[in-house]
Amino acid sequence: MQQHISTSFDEDLNELDSMVTTIGGMAQSQLNTVLSVMDNLDEQVLSTIIKNDKQIDRFEQKIFDKAVEIIALRSPHASDLRKVMIAPRIASSIERIGDLARNIAKRLLTLKTNKKSLPFVDEFTAMGQDALSTLITINDAFGRSDVEKALKVWENDIAIDEAYHRLTEIIVKTLDQGGQHDAETMRHCLFIAKNIERIGDHATSIAEQIYFRVHATQIDDNRPKQGDAEASD
């Protein structure tokens, strides 16, 4: 990798990259934690997750400010410019992932407060682990500018979509049968499933940014999509 004549320019770019990796790690940790308490709905842990989300929000702003500073002071071009432009976009996707982890925590806390448990814990945990592993992979792909890895995440999003549709079918079927769980709990289940599915979408969006950073073009999007043959939700 070529270095800039100005070492402080390299330091600025490296710092920006490192900030993106850090915020990615923060979201990873939030998601990992929320998955770990799906079975026992530990109130203290859930409250901490909700509280910690603000740190991610603040860190996203810091990344935005750093990118603005680099553009103003360094006037980056070509691959440098792409590096600077995608950092706030990725940070924004990760901030949304943080919001989704927080939303899941909020719903789990509501269930706990209402003295309920989360039905289909195994299904939720499995789907959540898929999303977490996607997030870990995409953070790693960013750190290494590994387009192949990013493309795998991008292509695999359909697996999370399929898991989401399988899970929602089970939820709706259970709701139809009535009795086993109250409608309010099932509503939370539907939203939690949707939140996990959205994490996959954001990881896909990050993959697109990594691709752009390396190739300076957008991915040609001709993936089959789960929703193509049915009404969009």
């Binding site: 070529q2 800039h4 004549i5 320019f9 006037s75 980056p76 071009h77 070509a78 691959s79 300076a216």
Partner: protein
Amino acid sequence: MTPSNSKLAAKDVSVYYNDKQALKSVSLDLLENAVTAFIGPSGCGKSTFLRCFNRMNDVIPSARVEGEILLNGVNINTPEVDPVLLRAQVGMVFQKANPFPKSIYDNIAYGPRIHGLASHKDDLDQIVEDSLKKAGLWAEVSDRLMDQATGLSGGQQQRLCIARAIAVNPSILLMDEPCSALDPIATAVIEELIENLKERYTIIIVTHSMQQAARVSQKTAYFHLGNLVEYGDTRQIFTNPAHEQTEAYISGKIG
């Protein structure tokens, strides 16, 4: 002068200073009524190449130019072409503003007088006014045309030199780092002027400022060690250059 009157191309142009080759077989079609920026590190051959377009290398005894510079299909590198007439058609603005130690009026009128472009004083007045207007200087100097040109500010002097070049009806304007001695405001005024001038003229600008090349030009040519490394749309050169060398230069990188 119409756009079709400013077709400019280089074919296999090499320049030698004694035995040293400063430019290595460069071929390039210039885009008409557009601004082309020549960029590259010092000694890359960009200014040498620029000077080929109005045969300014003729005045350097050690310089030898090979290849063809085609202006509207005619090779200007032949003894039949009068360099004085050529330089009226291909105007040049230099790094440092170089007004004659004369009045503002006489600076502009100098070229038209030599080339016999005005038969009456009224015609000459009109040329002076039109040229100063095109160079965006008229409003600032119209009430003191007989003042010494050397009393103008640096930015005004540079616009005066542009007006002086325009006064003899060129179709091409060559600019060799025209803003390197100017402050950011005077630079912005010249850049805005360049933007307006490209409607009438084909402009080539040599600049060491990457920002300036990006701001003013539609095409950019990157030179390194006498070679034309890359020539393309400015938008592409500054967002996704095809050559690593180009990217390294515009990004300020070393290998």
